[in-house]
Symmetry: C2
Subunit: 139 residues, 2 copies
DNA sequence: GAAACATGTGTTATAATATTACATAAGTCA
DNA sequence: TGACTTATGTAATATTATAACACATGTTTC
């Protein structure tokens, strides 16, 4: 898993704005939602968002949720350490828990070993109802 | 994890055609690639593909690879048993290994327990270079 | 400083993926 | 049969992502 080694980086204006939006959102955000949010700041084209996101993701400051085609700010200081992260997503309230511990990296290592793959990127996403939403929606 | 309980289902014509294409491809296939493949059989619109895929996925006969926006035929008899499946994807030769054992379901159960989520769907995808490709591309 | 290079930006257009809406047909069961 | 569900056909549209090009800015090297 390639990861940025940098601990402190100077973000460009666009990157900072996108990261701030992501943090403020506190939820998975689509690229076009971010674009709309940032139009008042002069953003006009999707590429401005996608380019900033690419950097932020490389730096471990944001993550892409593959199953939602959406993005979210990293909830840790930064995920540089391992890059082995799992996302647990409530489909009702859209809360996302970002889990990044040894159980994840161990699982991925073991999976890579078993399948003889030289892993470069992983995506673990678990959908369902969080504790609160699960209590409410007892259909 | 909700799963079909059916063991033998009669597929409709469209569903059979899409499944056959997926199996023949033996690789992740995009919806529009499937559409092109099936035009000679009368397919004309993306919805015909997406609708068939939805059924096939519900039946456990096909899977969606979230990180590729693509689909693949189930490599087991069917994944009805657990629905806890991991995909290991070579980014060079596009080979996909579908892993479905206790290590996967245990990991997911544990993750769900830790995060207090009532899980309904999961997606585990590991990218990298398979054994063969990794040997060749020693840059 | 000038040249060479890498990185970031702005903008337009376009590609790739997925869904809505509506009309029709076919299968299932009382 | 009627009532109902499921599958289909088709057109239009929505959503997500990238390509191509021009320009600007920053950094290194001489
Ligand atoms: Zn993170
Ligand atoms: Zn919730
Ligand atoms: Zn399967
Ligand atoms: Zn390979």
């Amino acid at each position: 898993m390639k990861k940025s080694v940098v601990t402190k980086v100077k973000l460009t204006r666009n990157q900072s704005l996108v990261l701030d939006s992501l943090i403020k959102a506190g939820q998975p955000s689509g690229a076009y939602a971010l674009l709309d949010t940032l139009r008042p700041h002069g953003f006009k084209a999707p590429l401005q968002i996608y380019r900033a996101l690419e950097q932020l993701i490389d730096l471990g400051l944001a993550h892409r949720l593959e199953s939602l085609n959406a993005f979210i700010a990293c909830s840790h200081v930064s995920c540089e350490s391992s890059g082995a992260t799992a996302f647990v997503i409530c489909d009702k309230c859209e809360t996302v828990q970002e889990i990044c511990d040894e159980s994840i990296s161990n699982f991925l290592s073991s999976l890579a070993r078993k399948t003889k793959i030289r892993a470069s990127k992983s995506s673990i996403e678990l959908h369902g109802l969080c504790n609160g939403c699960s209590a409410v929606s007892h259909s």
